[in-house]
């Protein structure tokens, strides 16, 4: 746990603010894209074991659509935008105007995949650029990759860098809601930001918080 012992409540608050700003911009982008009101929940910053992280996204076997991108530049890390399959359907139906659409079996509809990838791209791009403005760090997103699979299989990939130094992850989790619709119809997505271990110090320093106070 040595790597995590350095974190105080001030640090966690700073990370929460990062989640707030980033997801706030992403929510605005989603709202513009769909021409709908989108709400954002208060971000959660949690220090969790890898198994708990899977549970945050609905358990390791839960099937989700996830856009993954690597953050490159001054403070590398991994980012996931996770949607349940139903939510992904809802979104694609709205974007393509195809009410029948569903991810039943591969090969998936190319247009649908592309639309979903683009959604991930726009949302995570706005998350990241606001983060970059806020911290004054150069952060570049990689080309987003989409996967529709079990949570465990997807998220564990983002934990690899972190797993070399720790058995725990610091997750900055922000959920988006569409508040006009019932829970089953709403587009809820989770952003998981997982900075690489060395990036925390860089982010804190950029914001004027020293990591060993």
């Amino acid at each position: 746990m040595a790597f995590l012992d350095k974190f105080t409540n001030v640090h966690l608050d700073v990370l929460k603010e990062i989640g707030n700003i980033g997801a706030g911009h992403a929510a605005t982008a989603l709202s513009t894209l769909l021409d709908k009101k989108i709400d954002m929940r208060v971000p959660k910053v949690r220090i969790v074991s890898f198994d708990e992280m899977m549970d945050m996204a609905g358990g390791p076997e839960n099937i989700v659509a996830s856009v993954f991108l690597r953050i490159e530049g001054d403070a590398p890390g991994s980012m996931f935008f996770v949607l349940s399959i139903e939510q992904a359907h809802m979104f694609i139906r709205q974007m393509l105007g195809d009410v029948q659409f569903s991810f039943e079996k591969p090969p998936y509809n190319e247009l649908a995949i592309s639309a979903l990838q683009e959604l991930g791209n726009i949302l995570s791009g706005s998350y990241l650029s606001s983060l970059s403005d806020f911290t004054n760090l150069d952060l570049y997103p990689s080309v987003p990759a989409l996967s529709i699979d079990m949570v465990g299989a997807i998220i564990s990939f983002g934990l690899i860098e972190l797993s070399q130094v720790s058995d725990y992850a610091i997750v900055i989790d922000t959920a988006l809601d569409d508040d006009n619709l019932s829970a089953s119809e709403s587009i809820t997505g989770h952003f998981f930001l997982l900075p690489d271990p060395d990036s925390f110090e860089i982010i804190f320093r950029a914001l004027g918080v020293h990591s060993n106070e």
């Binding site: 390791p60 990759a145 564990s156 797993s163 070399q164």
Partner: protein, 165 residues
């Protein structure tokens, strides 16, 4: 049989052993590799959910031995032998090591799945344990469950359904 069958769950970077009639299971293997080592005669099996290929990658002071291929396989075998398995009759089945995202990068981290598989195979061959079944690579997640009585490894994927190995 009054004793009901329980399924022992193994988390990520974790390991455990099980004796018949119980089963052992791990969920959501992506680039991680699930290694099952078993002694059919004794109906005893162990499962490790390996996350990284080599413990030399560890940067922390204390390491979780179940996380790395080299340490996890050794420990799994030790643990089985301590519980009565015979080293000469140990066999292995492995699954996992997928490449979850099609992503072009020079970063070696992106190849973590295949590297995990190579590392597990190397360690098993050093310990002279034969791999009698494998379902590795590809790009889908797997959930695996092993029955030490039949020695069948049940593999479930999202896109390709369920089969026994």
């Amino acid at each position: 049989m009054s004793e009901s069958i329980q399924v022992v769950k193994v988390g990520i970077a974790d390991m455990n052993i099980v004796r018949s009639p119980h089963h052992i299971r791990t969920s959501g293997l992506g680039s991680c590799v699930g290694v099952v080592v078993y002694d059919q005669g004794k109906e005893l099996a162990g499962l490790a959910h390996v996350m990284l290929p080599d413990s030399s990658l560890a940067k922390g002071s204390t390491i979780n031995i179940a996380k790395y291929a080299d340490t996890a396989v050794k420990e799994l075998v030790n643990c089985l032998i301590k519980n009565g398995a015979r080293s000469y009759s140990l066999k292995a089945k492995i699954a996992g090591g997928a490449q979850m995202f099609q992503y072009t990068s020079s970063n070696d981290m992106m190849r973590i799945g295949p590297r995990n598989v190579e590392a597990v195979k190397k360690e098993l061959s050093l310990l002279r344990i034969a791999i009698v079944g494998e379902d590795v690579g590809g790009n889908s997640g797997r959930t695996i469950e092993f029955d030490p009585k039949t020695c069948l490894l049940n593999i479930r994927t999202v896109n390709k359904g369920v089969f026994d190995l």
